[in-house]
């Protein structure tokens, strides 16, 4: 007599068969994704379900794999820059910055003060767009359709503003080795100030309408526990680490650019659950506003051009050596490690994606939860699949 989840009998691809090998005979194996409304792109999670309780989970990805690291080894240093906007469509400027920072370290390029302040402003605005995108999509995962419209309303203002200097709305390729490609103008500064005033009024509304909603709280509190030990073992960073009570923010703990000039708080939560990560991100939006405000005040006093004189051309050669540069992206530590053999093409570009490490916590965090909770935990990790697949 054959029992149903017989590995030979179960169809599916390599991963399904591999997963079914260890499955109990009386369980249901469910493919959440790769085309599924709540996996944000093409993530696939293999779940072994007992009823609706999850016994085992295994994320499968790579459907969006574009081999950026190989592309890096075939293009000139400057030509690789546009790829950086495409790794993570949520917070592309952090990748811009990480790559530029690594190359600037390698070549010893000085960045003018004005460029640094511009980088902070645009980087933080981009973080706001990233968090707003996450917020809307996360609440959508939980079944409320309306907040994403409000989030996109705000996000649209930001995109309109960022469009002025960067000339694009999603996949920015704005930073250059030694500065940024275009200076900020008066209209941008005024618009940003107006936006922050408006956004300051919207944030309390979001708290009242969404964050304090009893159904939402019951949905996300106490599920998906990722504690400090797990954070260390998996190398999770960003809001996931801060939601576990670790005040680890590269803007403060390993300051890059001119972040040490600004006065802001690193929000943390000690609940380790999805609500903790949620609240950390909501608070971070407020802190980003503070940073942008301070940076806008410093902008007129900042010296130098927006791009250093004699900045390397796209086809320029870089000196041999290795350099690692990490910035705090919307999802955590965005690291770029470059190795040069002295030619105009990188010898090796390694992209450290925060989502990659954050997602690896999922299999352990979701054990014993309900299917609906798995969706809530996946969302709370703030996944951008292109970044994980690279």
């Amino acid at each position: 007599m054959t029992r149903y989840p017989d590995p030979k009998q179960v169809g599916g691809d390599f991963y399904s068969r591999n997963f079914a090998k260890n499955a109990r005979p009386d369980t249901l194996i469910l493919n959440l994704g790769p085309q599924h409304p709540s996996t944000h792109g093409v993530l696939r999670v293999l779940l072994e379900l007992d009823g609706e309780y999850i016994l085992r989970a295994e994320p499968v990805f790579g459907y969006l794999h574009r081999m950026h690291e190989k592309m890096g080894e075939t293009k000139a240093w400057g030509q690789f820059m546009p790829n950086m906007g495409r790794v993570d469509y949520g917070h592309p400027l952090s990748w811009n910055w990480a790559y530029c920072g690594a190359v600037e370290k390698l070549a010893g390029i000085e960045v003018p003060e004005r460029a640094e302040v511009i980088r902070v402003i645009t980087h933080e605005m981009n973080r706001l767009t990233s968090h707003l995108l996450w917020w809307g999509a996360y609440i959508l995962d939980l079944g409320a359709f309306t907040p994403i419209m409000y989030a996109f309303d705000d996000r649209e203002h930001l995109l309109d503003l960022l469009q002025r200097p960067t000339a694009s709305r999603l996949t920015y390729s704005y930073f250059r080795f030694g500065g940024v490609s275009k200076d900020l103008d008066e209209k941008f500064v005024e618009g940003t100030k107006a936006f922050i005033a408006r956004f300051r009024q919207r944030l309390p509304m979001y708290k009242d309408l969404v964050t304090d909603n009893i159904i939402l709280r019951k949905r996300v509190e106490d599920i998906g526990i990722i504690d400090q030990d797990m954070v260390t073992r998996y190398g999770a960073t960003g809001p996931v680490a801060r939601g576990a009570g670790l005040a680890y923010d590269l803007r403060v703990s390993e300051p890059f650019g001119v972040y040490d000039r600004f006065d802001f708080k690193v929000p943390t939560q000690t609940t380790c659950c999805s609500m903790g990560r949620y609240l950390v991100r909501m608070e971070e939006m407020e802190q980003s506003c503070r940073i942008i405000e301070q940076a806008l005040e410093q902008l007129p006093g900042a010296e130098g051009p927006h791009l250093v004189k004699g900045a390397p051309k796209p086809q320029a050669k870089m000196p041999a050596g290795e350099a690692y540069f990490a910035v705090e992206g919307g999802r955590g530590k965005v690291g770029v490690y470059v190795v040069s053999d002295g030619s105009k093409i990188p010898y090796r570009v390694k992209l450290r994606a925060p989502g990659f490490s954050n997602l690896s916590c999922f299999a352990e965090a979701c054990q014993g939860m309900l299917l609906a909770d798995a969706v809530a935990v996946l969302g709370s990790l703030d996944l951008i699949i292109p970044e994980i697949d690279r």
Binding site: L28, G143, A144, T146, D153, A372
Partner: protein, 323 residues
Amino acid sequence: MSIHPQLLHLIIALIAVMAWVGLNALVLVYFERKGAGFIQRRPGPFEVGPQGIIQPLVDGIKLMCKQLVMPTGADPVLFWTAPLLSMTPVLLLFLVLPYGPWLTGMQIDLGILLILAFAGINVLALLIAGWSSNNKYGLLGAARAVAQSVAYEIPLLLAVLAVAFTTGTLDFVKITEGQGPWPWQWNMVYQPLAFIIFIISAVGECNRAPFDLPEAESELTAGFHTEFSSMGFGLFFMAEYSYMVVVASVASTLFLGGYQGPFGSDGWWWYLPKVYAILMFMIWIRWTYPRVTFVQLLNINWKWLLPLGTVNLLATAFFMKLF
């Protein structure tokens, strides 16, 4: 051979009801989308026709023109039976609703019982749909649909029974006439708890957000109707909206005085606004709240609605005996 006048009345009523069900579904879809638009600060449909008013009709035509797809491994008979089984009982339910003093398709003593009995068939339809489509999401959705509908039917019945106790009948017309035209004469005032329980259970019975677990798209893609395309899906869709109308109509008859209006102005012009007010309320909460999890859903039912409903019923019986 002459047709019996009662039969003629029934046939006319049936035809009228079919048209009415279709019209209601269209209007409600339009209201839903406009309501969603209003809540989300966007215009909603406004391209097709003035203010997008014929958008639902055009959507319906599009649905009809699409290909009917059946997945491999599905049970062909049951797969196509399910949407029909979901839609057809609804037509019967509209027959007994009291739209006005003379506008009742079929006045019978057991109107409420008929509605409850035939609404139960919908559960079966969802179950068959999920089971026969050879899809794991469908199966999970079907299991959810059943557990939910069976659970929420009980507090719904308890709430209805409380009203039946006070009025002493199951006939819609008599229940309506047992109430007065003014709001303070409605059953809602005498049975507030039953009203609240009824509305919550009704949202649960209709699988509407925040209780739309059987088709929770962020977990189960589309739940029991994942594999249905074209009018297969269209029938489920229409059935869902029609059940909403039925449930809202029952609520307005039982608790809001039905077609009664002040100064003897009884008629459908009082009835329909009450029904649509309840529908608007359901639309409002759908676009406002996140979805609960399935465990929470059942907890709300078994730990809150059911005990409260029972207590309410006992208290009603007690007071009825006392006074």
